[in-house]
């Protein structure tokens, strides 16, 4: 895996190719350098979070810091690719990505550690929320369960094993392992097959795939495109999505869609939303301030109510009905990140 993480390095032939191309492109379009205004900062993160961040969170931070936050909402893996290409002069100063994407970003040296002196709130988070000595931190924890259509199901699904219930032939959608939330189905399958607790079952991958295969008759689809899957659930064509999470499903529910999120008896899971500073990025001090704000109780309270996520700063207040963050299982993401490519390939081979 480490071999595959090597960055692209120009070789001799590569350099000469670039010289040819460089001359020609420069002739076609003269490069113009765009510099950010001094009190401006670019934050990159998932597109799905753009609405609540722009509407409810950033205005508060902007007012506090007297700065302008520009949010670059793009799929995490695309953002990672862009960060890699832009490593010489990064455009994004702060990035929001799930832990499994933070791990390769860290390995490729694209993010830089934060300190409690510059980001005081870093030291106030719940245990386990700060990774690799401040390289990144979890600023929120959406929880994952089973999203279901309230139009089709009068009773919320009670257990994860309901996904396998023969009554739901071709009614179930699960996320692809290419998406972070795709891991939950695999983990549950391992747990159901072995009977071991999640913490042990997460390493029993052969068992997981065995159980997962038996889910095939119930599967309508395996999604990589979340909006499409949610749309199918909202239409009632799908009845359940295994492993969907609060920051998506509950926002849709709040907007009036006939969907809801159930936390099965075996337990829910904590989604690992991380935040980090890009290495060598502009507006370094401002980046520290923005991260600190996102880790502050004030902002995390807003996030909790608007985005239905569990705070990682214990001082933040949560509305009633939120699951206890401590009951949510957080798996070994390093193991997941290491194995994901292989699992994806195996998944495609076995589930096709």
């Amino acid at each position: 895996m480490t071999r595959d993480l090597r960055p692209f390095r120009p070789g001799l032939s590569r350099r000469s190719v670039l010289q040819i191309g460089g001359g020609a492109v420069a002739a076609i379009a003269a490069p113009a350098v765009v510099r950010a205004a001094p009190k401006e900062i670019v934050v990159g993160g998932p597109a799905g979070a753009a609405r609540y961040l722009n509407a409810d969170v950033f205005p508060v931070i902007e007012k506090k810091l007297d700065a302008k936050i520009l949010y670059e909402g793009t799929n995490s893996l695309t953002n990672l690719q862009k960060m890699q290409a832009d490593r010489a002069s990064p455009k994004m100063s702060v990035v929001i990505m799930d832990d499994p994407v933070m791990i390769p970003a860290a390995a490729e040296g694209l993010i830089t550690p934060m300190t409690t002196s510059a980001v005081p709130n870093l030291g106030k988070l719940v245990p386990g929320a700060v990774h690799r000595d401040g390289l990144w931190a979890n600023y929120q924890k959406p929880w994952a369960g089973i999203a279901f259509s309230t139009k089709r199901m009068k009773q919320p699904p009670a257990r994860w094993s309901d996904l396998w219930d023969a009554r739901y032939g071709q009614k179930v959608i699960v996320p692809s392992i290419q998406n972070t939330e795709g891991y939950w189905t695999l983990l549950v399958a391992a747990h159901l097959e072995t009977g071991k607790p999640f913490s042990e079952a997460q390493y029993e991958i052969d068992a997981a795939f065995k159980k997962l295969k038996s889910l095939k008759p119930n599967l309508l689809s395996v999604y990589t495109n979340a909006p499409q899957a949610i749309n199918l659930l909202e239409q009632g064509e799908a009845w359940m999505i295994g492993g969907q999470f609060s920051a998506y499903t509950l926002i849709r529910k709040a907007e009036g869609s006939p969907v809801d999120l159930a936390i099965p008896a075996e337990g829910g899971f904590a989604m690992p939303s991380g935040i980090a500073k890009a290495k060598g990025a502009p507006a370094d001090a401002l980046a520290d301030a923005v991260v600190d704000a996102l880790l502050s109780p004030e902002i995390q309270s807003i996030l909790a109510t608007k985005a239905f996520v569990a705070p990682t700063n214990p001082a933040a207040t949560t509305p009633a009905g939120f699951p206890d963050s401590a009951t949510l299982f957080a798996p070994d993401w390093a193991f997941f990140a290491k194995e994901r490519a292989g699992w994806t390939e195996r998944w495609i081979k076995e589930m096709a």
Partner: protein, 266 residues
Amino acid sequence: MTARLAVGFAWLAALAAVLFLLVPLLTVAAASFSPTPVFDLPLDGASLRWYARIATLDGFWPALSLSLQIALLSTAIALVIGTLAAIAIVRGRLPGAEALATALVSPLMMPGLVLGIALLQYFRAMGFTATWSALLLAHLVVTLPYVARTMIAGLALFDFTLVEAARTLGCTYAGAILRVMVPALAPSFLTAGLFSFLASFDNYPVSIFLTDVRTKTLPIKMLQYIEEAPDPTLAALSTLILAATVILLVASDRLIGLHRMAGTSE
């Protein structure tokens, strides 16, 4: 008898094609009037709330403007250089004409995101970071195949003596191309131009790697909107774009018609 059958079959195929192509568009248009936040049919009732929402979408107008700029410019450039290349290929005095004809389609053979990643790394490796120019150049690669391929086909039956006739009547070479070849091949140019414009205007797999937070094309914005919520906003937005395209099509139909009229009075 066979001939009549064949004609009947042709009309049947055309009717089927038209219906087949329009059904999903009508579905989208219908769903845009949904009173609920679900992108679905049938509807109970109708509402314009998703149209109202478009006005509140952040970054919509700049994205539309950028997409129009890039699409118009890349189409204009692609039309010129693609047509020139097609002339060179069709007139057959070019060494390796057939290879060039195939090579000109090759950008379509690459998944857009591969092209996007390739261009992103290439531009960055050269220290080229101007987003607008990068987008224009990338879209030129995306649009050129449509123009070149359509024009090669269109020129195959074109009688180049017309260009020579115009030259002996007092036109320069470029003037002859503009005054004779362009109007005589209006359907091909229209097809090539619209293919190219729409391919650029709707492109996101290439654009997504080259846009940045300040410079986003409309499809990238639309992708962001649907990621935020799969509600009928996108249906409303698409319906508006479709309506604008209808206007564009009617206008270009008129324009070509006007051109013909201008021709008769000359």
